[in-house]
Structures are given as structure tokens and as C-alpha cells.
Symmetry: C2
Subunit: 260 residues, 2 copies
């Protein structure tokens, strides 16, 4: 293992050094979709000069929270410009899961509106002068996973998308043919919220549309496996450190491929 | 991307430098299972000193061929001691797919014998003085994928296994409880030889036994997707460069995790 073992710590050490020297800049950004005001969150490393890939992050059903802001900081530390989209609108941050369900359902049952909202976030990211517009990806969690898949189904120009425990169902499976980007689905193998028939329909949609896709099932993981605040309430939505770390690593590998 | 982009070429360049300076040693090795003589194939990099992880490779249905020998060389270049097991026996190298089917069926219908044969290969690998016995994995292709899962089901001491387009069915699903290692299944999403009910049963076996497992479905890939000699004859078994490269990368990431 000699030389090989030397390489890996170097790589990690360099990544850590990068983090230590990073100058993380974050800011809240207001933008519009139609007449609706949205409030997103930007993060990038100011110690890096020049254009770099951009990553859009779409929030889970509770709306844009510090969870997504932390992910944005993690992505900024990796050298990306990260922008958290706001789907619900400025100030609309559900206080409990009941209110979250109402908001999420509004968009899940109106995919056209969902597409407009997530596209508005993508446009805002691409407007940033630090973003290399030819290298852009979107990631989303739960509700946001659905949102980034709908973004691709709308025909958006992207290099790739990653869904973390996102809903994969589609009322318009024929729209799979508009997907231009690579697709990575990170899925909890024991997720009780994702029905086997929805998984099968998603695979068929990808297959029929000849999409470049892959899906990873993480054993032992349920819904919300990347989210430390998920505490099995509702049951079947619970944090899983192992699957969180592995799916983050899988996302990084995916980015290495699509931003090559 | 500045610093980040600099890292990746360095890493690749170093890996290439390692290959250029490597002193690949390969040899054919005779060993026994019961009274049966088997003939395996060893590869390692002699420019590396000291013990290192060992990787067992189990062949597809045609028996041990130059395909597996090439994989062994690739693994040796990554810094591992690689050993190709011989399941069929010295000199038994099917000349055509019909003969291969006869040989493979012999072992797929006698899992006890298959376990003895693949365990004999593992023992031979572990005997090698260059191998760090606490860091050992097994990988297998098609028939060999089944073989390495059976190895784990037999209770063998391993850090992990990787099945590439392997048959996942089991006549004794309760044996999942003997699996002590991490499991990575690399599966062609369009593989017509792997029935949905066998996939579902495999997932249930892993779940019931609380195995640390994950499964990756590669969109657009069928059976034998890692094997350049697979030319859709029989139909549904065909090389897929994209899925080959991705699954090799996924295996490397898995090794980084299990040999950490």
C-alpha cells in the first residue's frame, strides 16, 4: 500500500488546508418568480479566484432552513458556488410538519408552478458572476429531490442532478424525454414513503427517455437519512450517519465526473 | 475551482506515476480444495514494500481467463495483492458458452461445494505473506458475483465484497445472518438475467440479517456490463464502458472505506 496510502492522507490534508484558508462568504438574496418574492441563500469561498461550478440546493418540506445553509457552506468549502433556492416564498417557513405538509402539497400537486419556482432559483444561481454557467448541478432533499427532478423534466440546462431521498413519482412521465443532464438518485433502501411502484415507474421513465441515470440504495436507511433533525417522527424518517456520509461521498464523485 | 482543480490532476498524475514505477509480478499458483487441484493467478506490485490489503477475484462462467488476470493487474497497480481464484479446477476452462453453462450450473446448484471452492481461494490469498490479513476483500463477476456473496454467506472473514452483475438469488436466505462484511452490489438496471423477485429477495435477505449493504443500479446497463468480450450474445449481456468505469470507481471508493 506504501505509495497509495501516502496519497490519500495528502488529498485529505490538502482538502482540510483548503477549508482552513477558505473565506466563506454567505448572503441572503431576494429574487422573484413572477410577482412572488423569494429569499434564497448564497455561499462561496472568497479565497478562490475565478469562475467555478455552481450548485443549486432545494430544501425539504420545512422550507429553507439552516440545514440547507450548512450544506451550502459545505459545498462552498469544496470550491463551488452554492445557492439555496426558496420554493415557498419569502417569509414562508412552516412552523411545524402540518404546515409543511400543506406547503409541500401545494407544489407537488402543481408541478408547473414547482418548475417555475425551481427554475427561478437556477436562473438566480447562473446570474452570479462567479459561476461557470457551463458547469451547473442541482441537488435536493426530500421535497427538494422531487423539485430538482422536475427542474430536469422541464428541460433546464444542467450537467447533473442529485436527489437525496426525494419523491420520484411523476404525473407526466413522458416529460422524462426533456431531461438533458445526468441523474444520481440516493435512496434509502428502507424508505417507507417511496412506494415500490413509484420507484419502478421512475426507472421506466428514465429507461424510456434514455436518460443517463443511476440509483443507489443504501441498506438500513429510511426517509430523510441525511437530516440530523429527523428523529423518526413521523416514523420512517430518521437520520442515518453512515448513509449520510456515503451519499455525500457519492455526490462528490458524481460532481467529479460531471464537472470534468 | 482553483485549488480544488489542482488537487485532482495531482492525484491522477501520482496514480499514473505509481503505475509507471510499478514492478508488476504475476504468477500462476496451484492449490487444492479437498482432492481437487485448482490453478489461480496472483498479481502484485513489487515496488511496494510491506503488507497491503488483499483482493480475491472470482471469475465469470467461462472460468479463469485473461479478463480476470487483467483485473488482477489493475488491482496490483492500485497497490493491492490480487488473487484470481479458480472455482472449476485446473485445466477446466470452458471452450464455449454451452460448456460454461454446464460448469456454472454445477456450482450454482451445489452452493456448499461453491463455498468450499471460493473459501479455498480466500485461504490461498491470505497465505500470501504480502497480504495484511485484517484487510481483505472479494470481488466477482457474473457467476463470480454469486460466488463472493456465497463466500460471505459461509461466514468468511472479510472486510467487504463487491458483486459486478452477479446472480443474487439464494436457496438459503437465512444464511444472510452469517455475513460479517460490508456488501456492495453493482447491478445493471436493465439486466434481463436478474429477475425482479430475486433482487427483492436479496434485499430482504440483507435487511433481515441487518447486513451493511448498498446496491447501485446503473441505468442503460445490462448483464456483463464490465466485460468487453460481451457482445450481446447471448442477448442481454453486453459491455457498457460508462457503467464499467463508474462501477470500478465505486469499487475503489468502497475499498477506501473498508480498508481505512
Amino acid at each position: 500500500m506504501g505509495d497509495m496510502k501516502k496519497l490519500i492522507p495528502f488529498f485529505l490534508a490538502a482538502a482540510c488546508a483548503l477549508s482552513a484558508s477558505a473565506k466563506l462568504v454567505t448572503k441572503t438574496i431576494e429574487y422573484k418568480q413572477g410577482d412572488t418574492t423569494l429569499e434564497g441563500y448564497l455561499a462561496y469561498d472568497d479565497s478562490i479566484s475565478g469562475k467555478r461550478p455552481g450548485v443549486l440546493i432545494v430544501h425539504q418540506w420545512m422550507g429553507l432552513t439552516d440545514y440547507e445553509e450548512n450544506r451550502a457552506a459545505m459545498l462552498a468549502n469544496l470550491g463551488y458556488v452554492a445557492f439555496c433556492a426558496d420554493i415557498y416564498g419569502k417569509g414562508i417557513r412552516p412552523a411545524d410538519t402540518k404546515a409543511a405538509g400543506v406547503e409541500a402539497t401545494k407544489y407537488k400537486s402543481d408541478r408547473a408552478l414547482l418548475r417555475l419556482r425551481v427554475n427561478a432559483g437556477l436562473d438566480e444561481l447562473k446570474k452570479n458572476e462567479l459561476v461557470d454557467k457551463s458547469r451547473v448541478a442541482a441537488i435536493g432533499y426530500c421535497f427538494g429531490g422531487t423539485a430538482v427532478i422536475e427542474l430536469a423534466r422541464s428541460g433546464a440546462e444542467l450537467n447533473g442532478l442529485v436527489s437525496f431521498h426525494g419523491g420520484l413519482d411523476s404525473p407526466m412521465p413522458a416529460d422524462g424525454k426533456h431531461i438533458k443532464c445526468k441523474v444520481l438518485v440516493c435512496h434509502g433502501a428502507d424508505d417507507p414513503f417511496e412506494k415500490p411502484e413509484d420507484l419502478a415507474a421512475f426507472e421506466k421513465e428514465m429507461r424510456d427517455a434514455n436518460v443517463d441515470w443511476r440509483l443507489i440504495k443504501y441498506g438500513g436507511a429510511v426517509h430523510s437519512f441525511t437530516q440530523p433533525m429527523a428523529n423518526d417522527n413521523p416514523p420512517g424518517a430518521k437520520y442515518n450517519k453512515r448513509a449520510d456520509e456515503r451519499s455525500w461521498q457519492d455526490m462528490k464523485n458524481f460532481f467529479s465526473e460531471i464537472f470534468n
